[in-house]
Symmetry: C2
Subunit: 217 residues, 2 copies
Amino acid sequence: MTPQAPTPAYRRLSVEERRGQLLEAALSLFAHRAPEDVSLDDVAEAAGVSRPLVYRYFPGGKQQLYEAALRSAADELRTCFDEPHEGPLLPRLSRAVDRYLAFVDQHDTGFSALLQGGSVVETSRTTAIVDGVRRAAAEHILSHLGVPEPGPRLRMTIRMWITAVEAASLIWLDEEKQPPLDELRDWLVEQFMAVLEVTSRRDAQTEALVRALAMDL
Amino acid sequence: MTPQAPTPAYRRLSVEERRGQLLEAALSLFAHRAPEDVSLDDVAEAAGVSRPLVYRYFPGGKQQLYEAALRSAADELRTCFDEPHEGPLLPRLSRAVDRYLAFVDQHDTGFSALLQGGSVVETSRTTAIVDGVRRAAAEHILSHLGVPEPGPRLRMTIRMWITAVEAASLIWLDEEKQPPLDELRDWLVEQFMAVLEVTSRRDAQTEALVRALAMDL
């Protein structure tokens, strides 16, 4: 028997299906290589289609494909934060951090390339997409904490912790994913409590929150 | 009397003096405007020289001038970390953070533009300069802590705190420099102690360090 030809990719797909298929191929490449190491030929090959077909769907070429893949990854990452508003708070945070770290694990090279900056495909648009995810993470946390009008100190604490989590993710990828995911997750959640406690010494709103969290456990 | 003409800038300067003068003019512009809002004409005007003269010193134009200004700012920032290795540790950290925040205060717009990413002048070289400063900060802290062979958990904790400090600086600039610098400084130093304590629960090296810090106070 001859090796199987990439015919499945040439079956009739709707525009949306085809677009989704190309995006998926692009995302899997961008997840594990730096953007400069992915060519449109690679994407065409991974999707089992011709290069002109890729251009038909993404006339802006690699930059457009990268941004579309990034948007799709950002949507996926946002779903990591989805967590029912029930049960004790810290386990909710712990589950969300667990899903986030699994996402980082699955998109390792692309995640590093994107967040380390200075990449050829980085633009104000890609920065805006990443910032959107950071903001979504902060809003999720605040909504779970049940603080309708968070003051500047509480907001700053949460945004600092989110940045520290990002830094930890990059170091973790750099250090061959050590410590193990579950240990890193617990450590990050403990840091969340610790920085909230520090802020509670100078902010009444955070103090009330820390008291509530202690009773919640 | 007629307004003073910009003659002082045209006096005979050595190559190094002239270069320094142009860099200083560029730095003062890049400190308070986004890079895309600074033109070579602006730099020439601020230095009181002609545009061709700027090009003679920086044939690579704005990008080269920006990178040179960034290098000079990075050197200045590194001097903020210089602190004698004597006396209790936390006050040393507090003084270094104080100088760092004063630097952020003085270079506000440029600092934000640089670190928020997606800027037109951002390249792998500018990213490397910024990363060099981050690494220098981590090495300074480790040398003051007197840990000759820091393990991965201690290193990660310190790098996460440095990133959190950076995030706090950006938020601080965004929020019209509130809370006041000295309050932000104390809060950041308290967070440093808090995250070290969290790490000490899972790392013997950090535990010994936290014990030593407690006796040092």
